[in-house]
Each structure stands twice: as C-alpha cells, then as structure tokens.
Symmetry: C2
Subunit: 420 residues, 2 copies
C-alpha cells in the first residue's frame, strides 16, 4: 500500500531512500522557527487544518481557488484543507481580538494543502512558518516583522551573502496604476477588477512571455517600457524608506532592498509586500508576505477593523537551500549513555540504572534482550554513545568514554554525576 501522491513520509535519519523526508530535519526547522519567534515575543496559535470552503474562496483571489484541496463532507458541508493560514488567523483574530493588547504578534506552523493537476514530484502539502502583526499601521510594524524574517533565516546560518529581502509596495503600484489610467477611459474604482488584473500581470513579469505581457498591459492601457522604467527607478516610498532605516539601525542594512518586481499574487494585500530570495536566484522564493489591512474587516463582515501584516516561509525551499549551502547538521541516531548488560544476573538492576539516568535527563538505551558484550559495545559505537555504563555488581558501575577510553568505577547512585 502506497501513500497518496504529493504527500510526504518523514523518517528518522539516516534516511532509507531518496523518496522520503527527514523527520529530524523537519523538527530542527520547526524548533528554530519557534525559538526565534519567541525571542521576538511572537506568541503561538493554531486553527483547524479543515475550514469552511467559503473562508478561502471569497477572500484570497483566483490564484488560490483553482488549487484548493476541497470536498463535501459527510454532513454535506463544503470544506477545504487549508491552503494558507491568513484567512484562519483573520477569522480567529476577528472572533476574540478584544482579549489581546495591540499590537498582537502571533505565529503558527501549520501544514498547508493544495490540489493541482498532478505534476511529477509536485507536493500537495507543505509546512509553513507564519508570523503576523495585527493592530498597527506604522511601518515600524513592517520593519519588526521583516527583522523577524531576517533573524529566522540567520538562525539557520544563512548570511547576507545567501539571501535578500526584496521590498515592494502595493501603494506604489496603485499610484502608478491610477496615474496611468488618468485621462483614459473611465478609471476603474480603486481595488477593482482591472487593477487586480494589472497586479497579476506584474506578478508574472519574470515568468510570462514578453509579448503576452506587453499585449495584456496594452489592453489595460499601459506600456511594458513604462512598467520596466518604474521598476528600474526603484525609488522607495516614504513607508519603504522608514522600513529600510529601521532595519539599518538593527544592523540589517545589507539584507533588504527595494525591488518593485515583487507584488505578490494574493488579492488581499494592500501596502508593503516583500519576498525573501536566495542570492543566487536558483530557488523559488524562500518566504513572502505583506500588509493586508482590509482582510479582517472582510472576514468579520465589517464587525472588526484591524490593520495587519504577515509572512509565510515554507519548509521545502528552505530545506533545499540549507542542503545546498551545507547548513543542515547531521541527525544520526545518538545517545548520551548506552547501558551495557554483561552479566544477565544484573539485568533488573541495569534497568533501574537506565531508568535513573533517564530521570536525570539523559538519553539512554540498552539491549532489550541478552546479547554478547561485543555486540553491545558495537551498538554503543553505532549510537555514538557519549558514555557506556556497565554494572560491575549491585553497587558499582563502570563508566567508559568510548572516545577517550577513560574509565571510572563509581557507586550506582553516583553515576549521573560522572556523565559529562
């Protein structure tokens, strides 16, 4: 029996096959995400992996609707496995925002799902680090969020030579759009369908054929050279300028720069948007995010109006990048202490020793059934045991450091104190 296409099995290392993923590397990534978020005083939340379909279809734009992993449940509800976390966060925040002092700084590590027509090797799920700030319009919040993104990537050993944050602004593009439409056919209302189409064309600028882009822009009343000139100018808006100065004060000047090619696909973004890319351009975006000041109002039916911004960082591109830069530690099996049972008469006492050492916080293993001491010491080496501990009698234990070959015999109750 096989797992479903596009889903992953996570095994302990060393990995048995190239087709499966490392549970240890996944946990390593999760722990870094969590610890950096906590240092920035972001607090953890989570929602259901399954949500009403409507939560995603009405708010996120066409980009996401075609990729939803949706179905009808036994209760005849239209539901979807979450494709992104932001609508859930908006729903949760709208329900209980009064309980929390603003600005709210929250993070989550959800598993996200999508269902596209099958492409070989294309995943249908991934994990994503989500961090959001709610209740603050000042660019200081954008800078705090981007600083978290930068420090998260630095926590893995990545440096300013490895990645860059490309900063952009929907506001800047909105100005460009509004000015471009002026004096033409009746201007589309702000945030209208044509403006969204324009943003979609910009979002695909580097990926779509040039002739197609030019044709689409022209139909919307714009020229490709004008667009390229605007991107090349790269003049920061006042808010982008404030963010850059804020980041520079933190010593993060070299990690971010204005790049108007970034605009983000999702419909709900409103202000600053950004993406993290590896410096060589080999990989897809490492992370992306921005402001969505209207989403909570939309999702709460106008009941709650909170400015908000956030980013998401997936586990798949990050893992590829860390592997390519040789920044992933080795996760082979290892123990602190391997309890050797040479004399089976001492098995029960050896179990007690193992239990005591575990209670003292050590990672301990031992042979479940009788085996030759040679085999046991071999196993201890395989497990890279920092120490072996072998009872000599009811009362004494021989502790050996297999590396240095240093040995010591101590009272059983004293063993834990000699394991360092």
């Amino acid at each position: 029996m096989e797992r479903l296409p596009g889903f992953r099995d996570f095994y302990p290392e060393p990995l048995p096959h190239t087709d499966v993923w490392s549970a240890d590397a996944r946990q390593y990534i999760f722990e870094k995400w969590r610890s950096v978020a906590r240092r920035f005083h972001f607090r953890e939340y989570d929602g259901p992996p399954l949500e009403p379909l409507e939560l995603f279809t009405t708010k996120s734009g066409d980009e996401i609707v075609g990729q939803l992993y949706n179905f009808t449940d036994k209760g005849n509800r239209s539901v979807a496995l979450r494709p992104e976390m932001t609508p859930t966060l908006a729903r949760m925040a709208a329900a209980h925002e009064r309980n929390y002092k603003k600005p709210v700084k929250w993070f989550a590590i959800p598993q996200l799902f999508r269902y596209e027509r099958q492409q070989k090797g294309r995943l249908r799920e991934h994990f994503q680090f989500n961090a959001d700030i709610l209740g603050e319009t000042d660019p200081a919040a954008d800078a705090e969020l981007i600083a978290l993104l930068i420090d998260t990537l630095r926590a893995f050993g990545l440096t300013e030579r490895d990645f860059v944050i490309r900063l952009s602004s929907r506001n800047a593009w909105q100005d460009f759009y509004t000015k471009g439409r002026r004096g033409q056919s009746p201007a589309a209302p702000n945030g209208g369908k044509e403006e969204y189409e324009f943003f979609q064309v910009i979002d695909k600028l580097d990926r779509a054929p040039e002739s197609e882009t030019a044709r689409k822009l022209s139909a919307l009343g714009f020229s490709l050279p004008d667009v390229r000139r605007f991107i090349a100018s790269g003049a920061p808006t006042p808010e982008l300028d404030a963010i850059l100065r804020n980041l520079a004060a933190r010593g993060m000047k070299d990690f971010a720069r204005v790049d108007y090619r970034v605009i983000r696909g999702l419909a709900y973004y409103t202000g600053v948007v950004f993406e993290a890319f590896d410096a060589t351009g080999e990989f897809r975006a490492i992370a992306g995010g921005g402001r969505y000041d209207n989403l909570i109002k939309l999702i709460s039916g106008g009941r709650v109006d909170l400015p908000a911004l956030g980013f998401g960082m997936g586990d798949v591109v990050l893992l590829e990048l860390l592997k390519a830069r040789k920044l992933l530690p080795s996760f082979d099996a290892r123990v602190d202490v391997f309890v050797v049972i040479q004399d089976e008469e001492l098995r029960l006492q050896s179990l007690k020793l193992a239990e005591d050492l575990r209670c003292a916080g050590f990672v301990v293993d031992y042979p479940l059934t009788p085996s030759k001491p040679d085999k046991q010491y071999k196993r201890a080496r395989e497990l890279k045991a920092s120490f072996t501990a072998r009872l000599e009698s009811d009362e004494y234990v021989r502790i050996t450091n297999p590396e240095s070959r240093k040995e010591i015999v101590v009272g059983v109750g004293d063993a834990a104190n000699h394991l360092n």
Copy 2:
C-alpha cells in the same frame, strides 16, 4: 464566519473564551511528550494526515470504519483523514524496515480525525502521542514501552496516586475463549469472526447493559458469571508476570496491575494490551495500546513480518486530568527584557539594543510606536518583564529589575551580561 463543528482553535493565553483552547498548553504537552520519548531513545517520524481509505478500512476492525472522516478527492481517489497512526506506521515500516536496526523505537505526535454523527461538544480531531517498538517479541519490549508511558505521565507531575496502568492480554482471553468453545459446536478458527465478537462484548462489559451482555455471551457459548470469575482471578500470564517484574525493577511497581477487563476494541491487537486510567475513574482512558504482531505483515501483503507494539495518548483527556489535578503551569505572556524608549531621539539605537539582546537569546519586546514612559513601564509589568532596559544615551543603558527595583547603568555593549 465560524470554524467547522468539532474542530478547535488554539489561542495564546490568557484564553479569550471558554470555547477555545490554549496553544500554550498544547505546546507544553507536545514538548513533554517529545522530551521523554527522546530520553527513552525513541525517534520521531510522521506520515501524511491524508491516506488511502483502504489503509484503514481493511485492517482496523468495525470499531473505526463507522467513524472515518473519508471522502473522494478531485482525482477520484477514496481517501480518509487519518483516524489513528498505527496503519501509517505499519505502512512506513514495511516500506523501509531494512534501513533500521531492530528493535526500532519510534514516536509521532499526529493530529487524528473522526467523523461521527454530531454530538454536542464532541471533538472531530485530537492530537495523539504515539510510541511503538518494532521487531521484538520479548515482553522486555512491552515493559520498555509501558515504562515510557509511565514516565511520560510522571513528567507532568502525575504520581501513582493519580493514575494506574491496567495490564491485560489477548492471549489470556484467547485461551479462555478456546477452552470455552471446546466440545461445543465446531470451534471458530483462531482470530475468526466469532472470537472478535466475543472480544467486542468483553470490551463493552462495563458500558453495556448486563442483560444484553449475558445474552450475547450466551449466544457465543459463554456465561457472564464465568467471564466475571476469570476477570476476578486476575492471574497474570507468564508474559504479564515478566512485564510486572521488569517494571518493579525500575521502581514502577505501584503504577501497573493486571486487569482483564481491558481488551481494546481494535481488531489488530494480538498479545499484551493495556490502558492508563486516572485513579478516581472520573475520566475516559488516558492512553491505550498493545501488541499487533500481525499488522505489518497484513499491510505489506505478507512481504514484511515484524512483531510490533505501541500506545497512543490523546491530548484531550490528559489536559482535563492535568487541569483537575492543578498540574498545568500558567502560560501568560512574559518577556525577559522590555526595552523602554523614553527619548524618541534614541529609538533607532534602542532597536539595535533590542536586536542585540534577542541575538543573545533573550525574549525582548519594545513599543513599536512612541508612547508615554508610564504606559511603557505598565506594559513591562503586564508582560512580567524580568528586566527593563532604557537607553540613557548612545552609550549607556539603565537596566532595572522591576521586582527588586535594583537598577544599574552599564555600557550598551555590556547589557546582556547584566540580565540575570
């Protein structure tokens, strides 16, 4: 917009409403589970939350089939959100067992799903700590697994006065069944449909009406008094005896006892089975497990034959029990350092200070926008800041312990060394 019935939202504490769950308590429980499993040298794995329906329907018995959260996906596959982890583990182990030395000791913390007719307040998902040992038939493996279960519950502060492991054996019940059928109508083959029906009656002994139980037993050729006598005898089988002696050697004598009322509902169990209950009997089972020596063979179509055993411990009953015993710590927001910005001229330098302290490992917060120092100190107290740090100039920072009111002024670069 509301979340789906039976699903949970997890919020940071203090909780905004009784209808939602604590993300902090969840993480506290996950971290305990993970750290104790690691001390026992169990290694983490995970599989997809969505699996082919067939993985669950053919192996787990009728108990689980009626409760599956299953549907047809866009690719016309019959799929189910996993209701339990063991079939996934069996699938994964069967695929790559050759890569791992036996015995294999693995754990996982999956979210599991079920879909029953709606009962008010009944959850459709929970998280479960799963630990399994593969490749060892000796009761020493059962004892190791049960010791992990006991130490996991002890790690939360629960003692032998709070919970007990009820040990039982499908083998003992099989003997009872086989002896009882002897000389009657042609005996059902071992593991046959009638034997499974008999196990189901035993499993529901405490919950079903006595008259119904007596009638069903009689139809299978058994009498309720005989069954009750067998349970009351409680004579341990040799394997249960070995487990009890093994646990006693570890100082865990008072945590386990033989109780033949336990038999476990799932069809795939073969030998020792057990459940953890709170001592007062207020709650449903805290955990349950046992041997399933034939499951991997079944799932791999006979290709791989590995004895196996495991347990699952859900987050919901455990949380109820910890709350009732007042063993849950408080998880209110708190920071190590709150950086006070009194002079806005020093904002950029204060950001640098916050960043440096975060890089040094401290949980740091600060006001994103200008606010009165009084309000900032109030916020620091709300966040139970261990220290406040306020720049006096470009060069000097005043560090205050709000508890002791002790203050010190030090060079900016030296601040991290004075935070303890």
